[in-house]
């Protein structure tokens, strides 16, 4: 099924975009909304993301990574560009990064996924925050290091540790969301 979807995508068949939207629309919207911070802008970014996916479908190469990774990277870059052109990048970017990194998350998780929350909370706060900053907020590791004053090497090690811990439980996370 995935093969057929990829084929449709590569031949710029709009059916592929509908299917991708059904499968990943909500996950991508979650990522985009966290980066841009406003629902209207997030909507525009998600629309642009799928248009880009459709236009550049033939450039997707399954040997270089999974479909979702490809899409989420388009979404993240589109969202970062949007915040830059909406020029609230400088105000938002640096003020958020310190507060986000230091304060515990009050509840960005979907509340109905109680099982997920418990599982993700197994992941130490400082590691989880780091994944969120890089994955959901679009910061580079260098930016996180600069702003927090934590050495780049430590950031890289922590990020790897965080993802390794996520891996232990990812299927539980996936399962409890169904």
């Amino acid at each position: 099924m995935q093969d057929q979807l990829i084929q449709q995508l590569q031949s710029r068949d709009s059916v592929a975009i509908g299917r991708l939207y059904d499968a990943y629309g909500a996950a991508l919207f979650g990522v985009v909304l966290r980066i841009v911070g406003s629902k209207e802008l997030a909507e525009q970014v998600l629309q642009d993301t799928f248009l880009k996916a459709w236009k550049n479908g033939e450039s997707y190469d399954p040997s270089k990574g999974q479909l979702f990774t490809w899409l989420v990277n388009i979404a993240r870059n589109t969202a970062i560009d949007a915040t830059r052109s909406a020029h609230f990048k400088n105000q938002k970017h640096t003020s958020d990064i310190t507060t986000l990194y230091q304060q515990p998350d009050s509840g960005s998780m979907n509340p109905e996924h109680v099982g997920v929350r418990e599982l993700i909370e197994k992941l130490d706060e400082k590691y989880r925050k780091l994944v969120d900053l890089v994955y959901f907020q679009g910061y580079t590791q260098e930016e996180v290091a600069e702003t927090t004053g934590i050495p780049l090497g430590t950031i890289k090690t922590r990020l790897r540790y965080a993802i390794t811990e996520l891996r232990r439980y990812f299927i539980f996370i996936w399962f409890f969301m169904q």
């Binding site: 909500a26 991508l28 993802i163 996370i173």
Partner: protein
């Protein structure tokens, strides 16, 4: 290449997160194309991140999907030239009107083809019937000589068909397919393991249960994919099971009592 230290460097995580310089990214692409170990590692990282994103999913506003699809439709109509339909074959096209004479060769050819097909079909059918007869004879022989196996199959069938037996299909097809049969009144659990993917020599699968009141998965049997698709493999019974899981482990099972990488999970509904 030292895979351990390459993986530990965190470069694959950076790649999956869309980070790194073009040169670094190109290097990762070369390496994953060359070494399946690294490709598998990258896939596991991507899966975890995707699951994390899915866990934080927020439904986009209604109507956005149709808006996107409409936009695509309108762009599709605009610039790209429509592929021109194949021109009709010119041969015989200009004369207009079929004559009996011109149709005759086609008619004869048609009859010849139909006859050929009919003959070929009946011959094939005969051959198929013969083959079926042979298979049935063989099966009859097997049945007679394999009464032990028959006995076993009957027992298994009785277990599976017992109204108290619950079948739990594992979700997540990373490792293949696996079903667990649990019968609490008989305190018996079996699994079908033949459709799991083969593993390299230094790895094993391991079954786990999640029981009520204990947040940590409890380790059960370490196993390899079975060879007999009909075989029911015995599994330890635990009370108050909520879910089963299968993990990928180093040879011999989990080294620290926690699942190393959970591949599949199935809950009692």
């Amino acid at each position: 290449m030292n895979f351990e230290s390459y993986i530990r460097s965190g470069i694959l995580e950076s790649y999956a997160l869309g980070l790194g310089t073009p040169a670094e990214r190109a290097e990762v692409e070369r390496n994953i194309a060359q070494y399946p170990v690294l490709a598998a590692e990258l896939k596991a990282i991507e899966d975890s991140l995707a699951a994390y994103a899915q866990a934080h999913a927020i439904a986009p506003p209604d109507g956005l999907k149709s808006k996107i699809l409409e936009k695509i439709e309108s762009e599709m109509k605009a610039p790209t030239p429509e592929p021109t339909p194949d021109p009709p074959s010119s041969e015989g096209g200009s004369g207009g009107g079929w004559t009996l004479k011109s149709l005759l060769p086609w008619f004869i050819a048609g009859i010849a083809v139909a006859l050929g097909v009919a003959l070929w079909t009946s011959k094939t059918e005969y051959r198929e019937q013969q083959a079926l007869m042979r298979t049935m004879e063989q099966q009859l022989k097997d049945c007679k000589s394999d009464s032990m196996l028959q006995q076993q199959l009957r027992q298994d069938m009785a277990f599976i068909n017992d109204p108290a037996t619950r079948r739990i299909d594992m979700l997540g097809d990373v490792g293949g397919q696996l079903s667990v049969y649990l019968n609490a009144s008989q305190q018996a659990v079996f699994a079908t393991t033949a459709r799991m993917k083969p593993l390299p020599a230094n790895q094993d699968y391991q079954l786990w249960v999640i029981v009520e009141g204990n947040p940590n998965p409890v380790p059960l049997e370490v196993f390899q994919p079975g060879s007999d698709p009909l075989a029911l493999v015995p599994v330890s019974f635990r009370e108050k099971v909520q879910a089963f899981a299968v993990s990928l482990e180093p040879k011999g099972g989990s080294p620290d009592g926690k699942p190393t990488q959970v591949l599949m999970i199935g809950a009692l509904s």
